[in-house]
């Protein structure tokens, strides 16, 4: 059976790795946090003492890390994946990072005879747990086919979108839209409520009108309308506000490098940063709705 070296078994990585174990893959896990490694061992994985140890005997390396600098250092740093992996090893980076960094790491991998594809995910912790993530893959078609069985253990919509880095591009664009919609839907419902409307009625109408979005349909920011949504569970993530700040930051950075003027995305990013400053950083990003609470009715307009 395919041996997987899994680096980064945190909030997202651990449930994903558990699904690999469930489907019969042999998983060796490493994380810079020893508690995370313990949790992986308790779930039937072999604990590794370093990234190098986790990848030394792997057929496929999976990484799920917080940010671009983490990915760059885990792959190209001292004792990193590229130095330790056997020639021909297939590396699958599932982190959400800057597409340019994916391309850079892929090039460094190629120079060492290692293969690299990017495969970021969408769906948050609930779908990571259920094994129903959306996975967007950038890389050579043959590498994608080789990774597909492992990816299918973690996600249901596994899509090859183009050359290396392009999975990250799609992910960045998707989260830009989700992030902007999170603010837009929250603002709209605060206005509707200000006029005394029942949010349930507003939702029913908008869901059949031009303002309908996936965000309102599946992650409604207003508590009490959708039992499964984070908003109805005290904004337990889901997908944290701080991570949305990070992903919108990637979009803003990419736009800066591409010289694309952006108005709505940076504004939305700043709203999430403000929400984070008000203690909502580790709540679900849809908690931006609670940040947008109006001042008291007595305030002059």
């Amino acid at each position: 059976m395919t041996r997987i070296g899994f680096i980064g078994v945190g909030t997202m990585g651990l449930p994903m790795a558990k699904n690999l174990v469930k489907k019969g893959f042999t998983v060796t896990a490493f994380d810079s946090n020893p508690e995370a490694v313990k949790a992986a061992a308790a779930a039937g994985m072999t604990a590794a003492a370093s990234a190098a140890e986790a990848v030394a005997t792997a057929d496929i390396v999976v990484t799920m890390l917080p940010s671009s600098p983490h990915v760059e250092s885990v792959y190209t740093g001292d004792g990193g994946v590229l130095a330790a992996a056997r020639k021909g090893t297939l590396c699958v980076d599932m982190s959400t990072i800057d597409p340019a960094v994916s391309q850079r790491v892929a090039k460094a991998a190629q120079e060492r005879g290692v293969r690299f594809i990017d495969a970021p995910v969408s769906g948050g912790t609930p779908r990571a747990t259920d094994g129903t993530l959306a996975i967007m893959v950038g890389g050579a078609a043959a590498d994608f086919e080789e990774a597909r069985p492992a990816l299918a253990a973690m996600g249901t919509n596994v899509i090859h979108v183009g050359a290396v880095g392009s999975g990250e591009v799609v992910k960045l664009c998707n989260n830009l839209i989700a992030g902007v919609c999170g603010v837009a839907v929250s603002e709209a419902f605060r206005i509707a409520e200000g006029f005394g409307m029942d949010p349930k009625v507003v939702t029913d109408v908008i869901s059949k009108s031009s303002g309908n979005t996936f965000l309102m349909g599946f992650m409604h920011p207003v508590p009490g309308l959708m039992p499964g949504a984070a908003s109805s569970n005290d904004y337990k993530p889901g997908f944290m506000t701080d991570l949305m700040c990070k992903d919108l930051g990637l979009a803003v950075d990419a736009a800066r490098n591409l010289r694309v003027p952006l108005f709505v995305t940076p504004a939305a990013q700043q709203v999430y940063r403000l929400a984070s400053s008000h203690g909502l950083g580790r709540r679900d990003f849809t908690s931006v709705y609670s940040f947008l609470k109006p001042s008291s009715g007595q305030a002059p307009v």
Partner: protein, 302 residues
């Protein structure tokens, strides 16, 4: 004759600043990536160095004033860079408008070799550089500022100690954000006034006499916008660099920056319209276009 000063970067700002040092009787050894720009200074007695390392070998006080942190890093750590040849006890005065985090990193590398780097960016434009009236904001050990003060005083009138290494570069970005942001807001607001029936020149005059006054209403509007001259001497692409630098600084500092963000994107839009080389006051042209209104003084031929 005072001690020999090394001077790297003879651009729009560097050349007149170096000229002030030569006129003040300092022996100068200079370097620039383009040798031709050094000729006027060499004719006035400055010596030429073929590399930053040659500058470091000849001078224990070295000034750098370059386009961005990237060039500063190259001059310090690149091949034949300053770090190859700095003698222990040397002092680097880093006067570029640079990225504070890079400055702190480079200062640590210089310190590890027994020398020091302090940041001392300037404000005041080419005119301030030529007349020696720049504002200079210094980040680093106050004792090092005192050591550098006689040299800095040839180039600037207001010399401030801003804080530790990197603080000079940080406050420079903060100042330019204020300058660029307030300008964008004032232009937009005067366009609203103009569409509401107030002559632009009268609007600026009233703002200047009231609580909305700023450098934009006091200086930039009357001199460069109402006249249609658009020649304050600071290009949109340079403002863009500093506004993006401020954005990174705010992010690193953990401060949400929604107001600055909105203003920043006005300049990026101007860049996207191919206006990068135009003066930063020319963002008024964009806003005039959106508003469908002229912001020139009535009766002005421009």
């Amino acid at each position: 004759m005072s001690e020999t000063i090394g001077f790297i970067g003879l651009g729009n700002m560097g050349a007149p600043m170096a000229g002030r040092l030569v006129d003040g009787g300092h022996a100068l050894i200079v370097h620039d990536a383009r040798e031709a720009v050094a000729r006027p200074l060499l004719a006035r007695g400055a010596a030429w160095a073929a590399s930053p390392a040659e500058v470091a070998a000849a001078a224990q006080t070295v000034i750098t004033i370059l386009p961005t942190s990237r060039e500063v890093r190259q001059v310090l750590t690149g091949p034949k860079g300053l770090l190859d040849a700095l003698r222990p006890g040397s002092l680097v005065l880093e006067m570029t408008s640079a990225d504070p985090s890079v400055t702190r990193e480079l200062a640590a590398e210089v310190a590890a070799r027994g020398s020091a780097l302090i940041d001392a960016p300037v404000s005041g434009g080419v005119r301030g550089a030529t007349e020696g009236t720049l504002a200079i904001m210094v980040g680093g050990d106050p004792a090092l500022l005192e050591r550098a003060r006689p040299v800095l005083a040839r180039m600037g009138k207001n010399i401030f100690h801003a804080g530790p290494v990197g603080a000079g570069h940080a406050i420079k970005l903060v100042n330019n954000m204020c300058s660029g942001g307030i300008l964008a807001l004032t232009i937009e607001a005067v366009a609203v006034a103009a569409r509401s029936g107030v002559d632009p020149a009268r609007a600026v005059e009233i703002i200047q006499a009231s609580s909305g006054r700023s450098n934009a209403s006091d200086y930039k509007f009357p001199r460069f916008i109402l006249t249609g001259g658009f020649d304050a001497g600071f290009a949109i692409r340079l403002m863009m660099k500093d506004l993006d630098g401020y954005g990174r600084l705010a992010q690193e500092a953990g401060v949400p920056s929604p107001v600055a963000r909105a203003a920043t994107e006005i300049y990026r839009l101007a860049m996207a319209r191919g206006m990068g080389e135009q003066d930063h006051t020319a963002i008024a042209r964009l806003i005039e276009e959106w508003a469908g209104v002229s912001l020139r003084s009535q009766g002005d031929p421009a």
